[in-house]
């Protein structure tokens, strides 16, 4: 196809909004800010569209679960803060278990850290996605075509996760204390996915979760499981809409702040709290769901849409260069996360008690970053 260059050049490019003047202004501002920071100083966060007060929707929305009025949970005393350490070797930390004991990541192959000591996951390649309190790890391999093969690693043995009938690829997203695993299955039409469960004692068998009828947007075919609690409750999305499945397998949509929406996403569950985002018109809001009461709290807007939560309702955003991660208290206060000197540390996960936050530095090569927060 020697004329591919011509074909690409001939594509009709819609008008755009790239603004060189703004790039200069932003570039100057960032350079100045960097010059002001000393070693170990907290990053100055420009207050964005931050809502200080937890909002609880009282409108009824066209989803099954009614939303009783709820009072804000008692806010714990302001935390003393976090210290941060950056590991010397390159790699990433991708997940941490509920207790904060086990960290998993890549260096560059899958590795498990316990009490700061790394153990390579013998036989595993690719990227871990979750670990439980027994040190059981799930993850996936992928190739250049983004074809994912999920695995579980336990006591030194790697097992491939079973495929769902009709779907070639598997991606695990979470594992609970019992070792039950959830995630999703995909076909070669990469935009179709279905939520799947692999039981602890039968990782070779993929159990398809039943999609609740009438849930989700037409034309959106992404359905996934993204978290599993120790009681067997599963959370995820059904056709682009946040949802949960009870341990008996019955699924339902989760409440959203407004009926005027484009769905949302659930990032995970800790205890009886689920965390995710809501896609309104022109806004992405962080949402925390209480799965036992059915209440939902909106915690203000976020540009990235990716976050983790703790068992007592704190949220930690992933962050990115230009938009560093923050912790959000249960009542919606935003606290910038202490950053390592001279680099941007992005988060990926937090332990159940909020004391351990893990992630890695931004940039073309990454280094693991671990925050220790006094609870």
């Amino acid at each position: 196809m020697s004329d591919l260059h011509d074909l690409m050049t001939a594509v009709d490019l819609p008008p755009g909004r790239v603004d060189i003047g703004r790039a200069v202004a932003d570039g100057r501002r960032r350079s100045r800010r960097r010059a002001v920071l000393g070693a170990g100083a907290a990053v100055l966060v420009v207050a964005g569209s931050f809502t200080a007060v937890q909002q609880v929707a009282r409108r009824s929305v066209p989803v099954p679960v009614p939303i009783p009025a709820a009072s804000p949970p008692a806010s714990p005393a302001p935390p003393p803060g976090c210290t941060v350490e950056t590991y010397a070797q390159s790699g990433t930390v991708e997940a941490v278990d509920e207790s904060g004991q086990y960290l998993v990541g890549t260096a560059p192959n899958p590795v498990l850290w316990k009490d700061g000591k790394p153990t390579p996951l013998a036989g595993a390649t690719g990227t871990p996605t979750a670990v439980n309190g027994s040190g059981v790890v799930v993850g996936y391999d992928s190739n250049d075509q983004d074809q994912f093969r999920g695995w579980v690693w336990r006591d030194g043995h790697l097992t491939r996760l079973g495929k769902a009938t009709g779907y070639k690829w598997t991606m695990p997203t979470a594992i609970n204390a019992q070792g039950d695993i959830v995630g999703y299955a995909l076909g070669d039409a990469l935009d179709v996915s279905i939520p799947v469960l692999w039981r602890a004692d039968r990782p070779g068998t993929a159990v398809k979760l039943k999609l609740p009828s009438g849930v989700g947007a037409n034309g959106v075919i992404m359905s996934r499981a993204t978290g599993i609690a120790d009681d067997g409750t599963i959370v995820g999305v059904v056709k682009g809409v946040p949802a949960r499945w009870r341990p008996d397998g019955v699924g339902a949509a989760l409440a959203l702040p407004s009926p005027d929406n484009n769905g949302g996403y659930v990032n995970g569950v800790r205890g009886h709290l689920a965390f995710g985002v809501f896609y309104g018109k022109g806004v992405v809001e962080i949402v925390r769901w209480d799965l036992t009461t059915g209440t939902m709290a909106s915690l203000g807007s976020d540009s990235g849409g990716m976050l983790s939560g703790t068992a007592d309702g704190w949220v930690v955003t992933w962050g990115e260069p230009g938009d560093p991660p923050v912790r959000i208290s249960p009542d919606g206060r935003r606290i910038p996360l202490t950053q390592p000197a001279g680099v941007v540390g992005m988060t990926r996960a937090v332990s159940g008690d909020g004391a351990t936050i893990v992630g890695f530095t931004a940039g073309t090569t990454h280094r693991p970053v671990v925050w220790h927060c006094r609870p």
Partner: protein, 164 residues
């Protein structure tokens, strides 16, 4: 930044902007808003590094590398749990079909390719980067670049034949 360096930066970016926008547009599978966001972020970072960048042997290659890494970082950020076509959870829900330029058969065919294959084809054919540079930018071997190229081209060929 000194005034003459800044003028130099503005001149460079003004001249290169259409090509960068086109590359980002194709990398994002025809999503002009995401593509422009990636270009905006890339040129902002370029401003911050202009002193170093303007001394590079091949400034175009340097900027193309930044563009692809910004694309990959943006993907990785939204993606390492949320991958695929449609590109991120946000895009899937917010603009399921409408953000995409469906008028172009080529853009639609490129959307079918996995992001990495798309990046290889855009770098090699739109931006004319040689194989060894593409390999370095994407962090893979030259052999992988070549095989990704032939696989990507054969998929494009079959898609464009069907559509015609």
């Amino acid at each position: 930044m000194r005034a003459d360096s800044e003028a130099e930066y503005v001149a460079y970016v003004t001249a290169r902007l259409p090509a960068l926008r086109r590359a980002a547009f194709l990398l994002c599978g025809g999503d002009v808003d995401r593509g422009d966001d990636i270009v905006q972020l890339t040129i902002t970072r370029l401003y911050q590094r202009w002193r170093q960048a303007s001394r590079a042997d091949n400034l175009d290659a340097y900027v193309h590398r930044m563009l692809v890494h910004t694309f990959a970082d943006e993907k990785r950020r939204a993606w390492s749990r949320v991958r695929l076509l449609p590109e991120s959870a946000a895009d899937a829900a917010i603009e399921p079909q409408t953000a995409v330029d469906d008028r172009s058969a080529l853009v639609a065919a490129l959307r079918i390719l996995p992001p990495r294959q798309r990046a290889v084809l855009v770098l090699r054919f739109l931006l004319d980067r040689p194989v060894e540079e593409v390999a370095e930018i994407l962090g893979c071997s030259e052999g992988t670049v070549k095989s990704q190229t032939s696989r990507g081209l054969s998929i494009l060929r079959s898609q464009l034949t069907v559509r015609n």
